[in-house]
Amino acid sequence: MKEAKPLLSVQALQKWPDFTLDVAFESDRAITALFGPSGSGKSTILNMIAGVRKPDSGRITVAGNVLTDTEARIFVPPHKRRIGFVFQDAQLFPHLTVQQNIKFAQWFNPAEKRGLPLEAVVETLGIGALLKRRPATLSGGERHRVALARALLSSPRILLMDEPLSALDDARRAEIMGLIERIRDEFAVPIVYVTHRVDEVRRLASRVIRLNAGRVVDTGSAAEVLGP
């Protein structure tokens, strides 16, 4: 039997003058979607998991590791969390080539630590021909593929994606969604996926956390949450 600890467990409370985030959920699934309209607190939750933001109170664990626990005064800084983050607009380093961007991640996360082989990732994401180029010369879809590769090569325990497709046209979106499925299947890296689009949730998510106005309003499979 595997240990009973869930892959991801989030309990967080934070108050702003005009908004309160108060959520608690768990997931064991390969792709968990945080789904809801903009302003529902999805990205804030991702930032809390990544350690970029600290909740007023709460507890966050990933694969049995306590990353944030305000009661026990535990707060692991972002660079020690081993959490991959794929940003909406890729955020590749403009002064480095594609290869250097990817190696950046590898350098800080030695391969022994459960790392994925660089060649396999480059192959799967089809970026072999781009390695010598600079981010400014890449198209939107290419940039996202590089961002995925970079996040994967940081040997993450979990991969967070913040609306990774929102800047792409439909053809590119389908392509990247296919790649996300391959990442799930070939590299077995669990993914937390933030989106406000129903089609992405239906295609990708094995568990959906539906959010509205800073609260969890529904959880379950895509069919349960969205209807057939």
């Binding site: 972002p78 955020q91 002064h95």
Partner: protein, 232 residues
């Protein structure tokens, strides 16, 4: 060469040395101060900001006088540095370098700070999630992206240091071969009968050095921009 007298050569060599040392010594301080002002919030930030920019707006004579009071033989800091490192500032070229560095510092600080502020913080956040601690993030992401601004700051400081006159002459006087930089030499030549041609020649040298510095900075800047390509 060019018919310069030994005194003139000394002034030219000294000016270059003083400006280079003053600028390079100030650079690490400017990097730290610019980063602190651009990124950190701390009590007294406005006051620190004002103090660091003070040499820009004070009469240079006042700055020179305060340097004399603090870094002179009897000054608290000057004494401490002499005891610790054996370096004297008063009436030495090191003092001229200090005066020039202090006068050019605000220009360097300002350029570097602006370039730090222009960097997309999300790139630093990305570096963090990839496992880079804050120091590596600064070295590998922040600093390279700020490089064009740092370069502009260095050139501005160097140019200002080359032209510095008031603070230098107040702090370390006007000693040929030791503290007589190009501006001090020009001043001296304009004060003696028959010095006009020498004053004019050194003025032309000043212009030439300043032009070369500006052109070098522009060329380097273009190269860096090409390497970094377009920011998005």
């Amino acid at each position: 060469m060019f018919g310069f007298s030994p005194d003139e050569w000394m002034a030219i060599e000294l000016s270059l040395r003083v400006a280079t040392v003053g600028t390079l010594a100030g650079l690490p301080v400017a990097l730290v101060a610019a980063y602190a002002l651009a990124r950190w919030r701390f009590p007294g930030k406005i006051i620190l900001d004002g103090l660091l920019h003070l040499p820009l707006v004070l009469p240079p004579v006042v700055t020179g006088y305060f340097l004399l009071l603090t870094f002179g033989k009897q000054g608290a800091v000057g004494k401490a540095i002499y005891d610790l490192f054996g370096i004297t500032f008063s009436f030495r070229w090191t003092g001229a370098a200090l005066a020039c560095g202090v006068m050019g510092f605000p220009l360097m600080l300002r350029a570097i700070r602006l370039s730090f502020e222009a960097i997309d913080r999300r790139l630093e956040k990305a570096a963090g999630t990839l496992g880079a601690n804050p120091y590596w993030t600064f070295l590998l992401v922040t600093l390279p992206l700020a490089l064009p601004g740092v370069l502009v700051g260095v050139i501005l400081c160097f140019a200002k240091a080359l032209g510095e006159f008031g603070a230098t002459i107040t702090f370390v006087s006007n000693i040929p071969g030791e503290t007589q930089t190009i501006p001090s030499a020009i001043y001296t030549y304009t004060q003696v009968p028959g010095g006009e041609s020498q004053a004019l020649r050194l003025s032309m040298v000043s212009i030439a050095i300043a032009m070369v510095a500006l052109i070098v900075s522009e060329v380097l800047n273009r190269r860096i921009q090409k390497r970094i390509a377009v920011f998005e």
